[in-house]
């Protein structure tokens, strides 16, 4: 799971929030770091990278609100 978290964190740091202090538990949406399009961009990256499909009903703001939450979501979809 640590590798998954680092992959997600690296992507967010590289593509969305360069030079920002983001950690595993940083709240991304409720604290104003990312918006809905950014969230969809992360979702699209993850679907391509892990060759999975994240159902719309699982792609909630809560599920994408931190790297920790995203890793938990991926775990539910079998990504370890």
């Amino acid at each position: 799971m640590a590798i998954v978290k680092d992959t997600v964190l690296d992507h967010i740091r590289t593509e969305l929030l360069p030079n920002k202090r983001i950690s595993y538990d940083t709240r991304l949406i409720t604290t104003g770091w990312v918006n809905s399009l950014d969230m969809v961009a992360v979702k699209t990256f993850l679907e391509g990278h892990y060759r999975i499909r994240i159902p719309d009903e699982m792609a909630t703001a809560q599920a994408f609100d931190s790297v920790e939450n995203i890793a938990t979501l991926l775990g539910k979809l079998g990504v370890r």
């Binding site: 604290t31 104003g32 770091w33 399009l37 961009a41 699209t44």
Partner: protein, 268 residues
Amino acid sequence: MPSPEKAPNHETADARRACRSWHRPPASLALSGGTVHVWRIDLDVPPPLVARLHRLLSSEEKERAARMHAPGADRRFVVSHGATRAILARYLTRPPEEIDFLTGAGGKPYLALPPGPSALCFNLSHSADLALCAVAVGRDLGVDVERIRPVADWPQIAARYFSPNENEALLALSDEAALTAFFQGWTGKEAYTKALGRGISRQWSQFTVSLAPDTLTELPPASVSAGGKDVFTLWPLAPSAGYVAAVAARGTGWRLGCWHWPGPGSIA
């Protein structure tokens, strides 16, 4: 599931003018049932104005603002929500701090007022240092604004969420024009689904909006599965250099008024 269908689009000189003309509002501004107003709110304002707008917020809004840790996010939240209260107060003729909101099943906020054909409806969106607040009477509506910026994987996003017609249109454009058109399409789709009180979904690929900055789209009923029962009209907006936006509202033939906040008579 409805099949992908090209929506009827039409382009008028009025539309082109309205999409780009933002005016200082008169001190007294009426809103008829056949009109939609969109207010442009600059979120980069001096601290004294931020402080005045903060005083208009409810305790819950102040708590949400305090949780904003991204640089400038608390200011943007306070100004967008405080200005929205000030704007709605113009129409409701009540103090902005006394306006109450409720949240719908899809998370869409609405005014805590009796519903009906004369009920004031609104929707708010912000991106970077710009917010738009759309207002109408008795008419479901949604608005979305985005700062045009590099987005990794945007062609993959378009492949998943845009219709075949939209993807075909994007492929015909240069890289820079395609990115702008992508944002125009994204704001149109998000404005429409916000008007329906719904969220982003893969069903977005089942309806087509115009990717042009000056072409209206009429979206037929049920453009999103289990969605609207009525026709919605989508207007692209050009709120500021480097931004694109769109407003969607139920019905056809409504007029659009675009205003810049604050104007004369504004509370703050």
